[in-house]
């Protein structure tokens, strides 16, 4: 067996619940024992549209949280924005319906071995997987501070129960409709200086990840980011979700964000070369 896609399994899974949360949908899906193999940062790939769909490609969604001991067995939670045809179909699936799902996929956030100070930065529904990560970091004894940003209040995803695992949570909206007015990246520089931040975990739009990298570059702060590129397969065979990433000696490779990511070390990603010919 190869180490690529290790643990990935294709199953038919049942939707346990589907609730609207602001502009998003929270789906809980029963994946049985596979829940124990899912780590913060991993994602799933789901068939959409039913048997005779003209949508032939799987859709990738970040796992926001897993529970290994619920009454219905192991479950995972997805926070889905009903933007495109595929995600709208998924958000219309009611309790009890079944999904063809491949789980778990991709790299996971690296968890520090020491109880360090961690800053979690989320943009839009990119905040979802950070709450599951916060729980893991919290259990390791890390101090966890969180910054969430979006264009407007309805695009902030910050569930009540998620806040229990964080020491502080600050919200930024560009239109000032919730929390402080401005971009989520604005306070990061000062926070790095004021607090003893060892690692930043980020998830959200590429522009946000790139802006965080510009702040952490040249500092001792490790930046682990979950990147987002459109994928056709999620398992490494289509070569569409590539990003320019440098290795230790500076050679740049087009790496697949599905199997070499989605979690990558931000300092190796060549942000200025994304979408360019190398």
């Amino acid at each position: 067996m190869s180490t690529i896609n290790k643990n990935a399994t294709q199953i038919v899974a049942t939707v346990v619940s589907n609730k609207r949360v602001g502009q998003y949908h929270q789906l809980i899906i029963n994946i049985g024992e596979l829940a124990a193999l899912c780590k913060p940062g991993n994602f799933v790939a789901i068939n959409v549209g039913g048997e005779n769909s003209r949508m032939i490609l799987r859709r990738a969604f970040a796992i926001s949280r897993v529970s290994t001991n619920t009454i219905s067995g192991g479950t995972l939670e997805l926070i889905v924005a009903p933007h495109g045809q595929g995600s709208r179909w998924l958000c219309s699936q009611s309790e009890g319906s079944t999904l063809d799902i491949v789980v778990p996929l991709g790299t996971a956030f690296g968890i520090p071995t020491e109880p360090v100070q961690a800053l979690l930065v989320g943009g839009g529904y990119g905040s979802a997987p950070l709450f599951g990560l916060a729980e893991v970091l919290n259990a390791k004894g890390c101090r966890v501070d969180m910054l969430l940003g979006a264009s407007t209040a309805s695009k902030i995803y910050a569930p009540m129960e998620g806040k229990r695992a964080v020491n502080s949570l600050r919200i930024y909206t560009e239109d000032g409709s919730m929390g402080q007015s401005g971009r989520v990246t604005e306070p990061i520089k000062a926070l790095i200086e004021d607090m003893n931040i060892a690692v930043i975990y980020s998830c959200g739009p590429m522009a946000m990840l790139s802006a965080i990298d510009a702040i952490t570059r040249g500092t001792h702060v490790v930046h682990q980011c979950a990147v987002e590129e459109s994928m056709a397969c999620g398992i490494g065979i289509c070569m569409t979700c590539v990003l320019p990433v440098a290795d230790e000696s500076g050679n740049i490779f087009m790496l697949r964000s599905c199997i070499d990511g989605p979690v990558m070390d931000g300092s190796f990603v060549q942000w200025d070369k994304v979408g360019e010919v190398l």
């Binding site: 067996m1 190869s2 690529i4 896609n5 290790k6 990935a8 294709q10 068939n47 003209r54 949508m55 032939i56 490609l57 799987r58 063809d100 491949v102 590129e229 459109s230 994928m231 056709a232 397969c233 398992i235 490494g236 065979i237 289509c238 070569m239 569409t240 979700c241 590539v242 990003l243 320019p244 740049i252 490779f253 087009m254 199997i259 994304v274 979408g275 360019e276 010919v277 190398l278």
Partner: protein, 315 residues
Amino acid sequence: MTVLDFSTTLGNAWFPAPTFTASGCASSGRELAQFFDLKDMGAVVTKSVMMKARTGRPTPRMAETPSGMLNSIGLQGPGIDAFLAKDIPYLVEQKARVIVSIAGETIEEYSTLARKLRSVSGISAIEVNISCPNVENRGLVFACDPEASRRVIDGVRRTIGGELPIIAKLSPDVTDLVAIARGVVDSGADGLALINTVLGMVINLDTMRPHLGGKTGGLSGPAIRPVAVRAIYQVHAAMPQTPILGMGGVSSGRDALEMIAAGASGVSIGTASFGNPTAIMTIQNELKDLIIAKGFTSLRQVIGYAHRPDEAKDE
């Protein structure tokens, strides 16, 4: 229980099943090995490899279209030396049968690649991809030019000698496919891979510009299946002795059977694996059941069956 001979041949290469990956849709096999045993299918057709490592085209590289997708990868790959050092040994260790797909920028590059492959053990056949649509210079699509196609295949044949079967992968984006097919077979191709993707474009209505980084891309998936069936049928009608590896939107056993009846000796599964990592195994099993249900005892009986003469009418 009916016993079915499910095996097939492409030139002198024998395969226990007629189901293959499509080049460029399975990388070099490792990614799919988590989902099924690579040795259980006909063969892995590896992603077209060039002399040098290549980073490919800029993103976005993909657009989903109704029952299909456009891709614009541009032959990203590790280059032949890294491929031979890492990927072939892995596939051999998995006991998978291997068809190596090669692509060159020049006629000479194809011959040089063939020289590299000549003494490599564990390879069943070579696919010569002369029809990748995702190259900056459309003049590089050798398969659109009968003379260039012939010269590529002739060079590979001379280099490789007589042993290893050569399969030429052709484009449907031509006026006279049969003439190009005839040319490459006359130049030494043992078989044909039909069809490569169809050149297409999507305009992004947010930016009001072509969506793909490379502007144009190759259309694949069920949307192009009838084009592929037509191409296979036409070429098989003209050259019934030439084995064809059929591909283009196959996503079920019935789709595979259509291609075989049209004249394909084997079927490659590409885009269907993107939507379903176990598609090849599902299609293989469905195809076997369908052939048995129709009363055939060997796959060979079905190849080109759609070309049979009209049945005599009962009086």
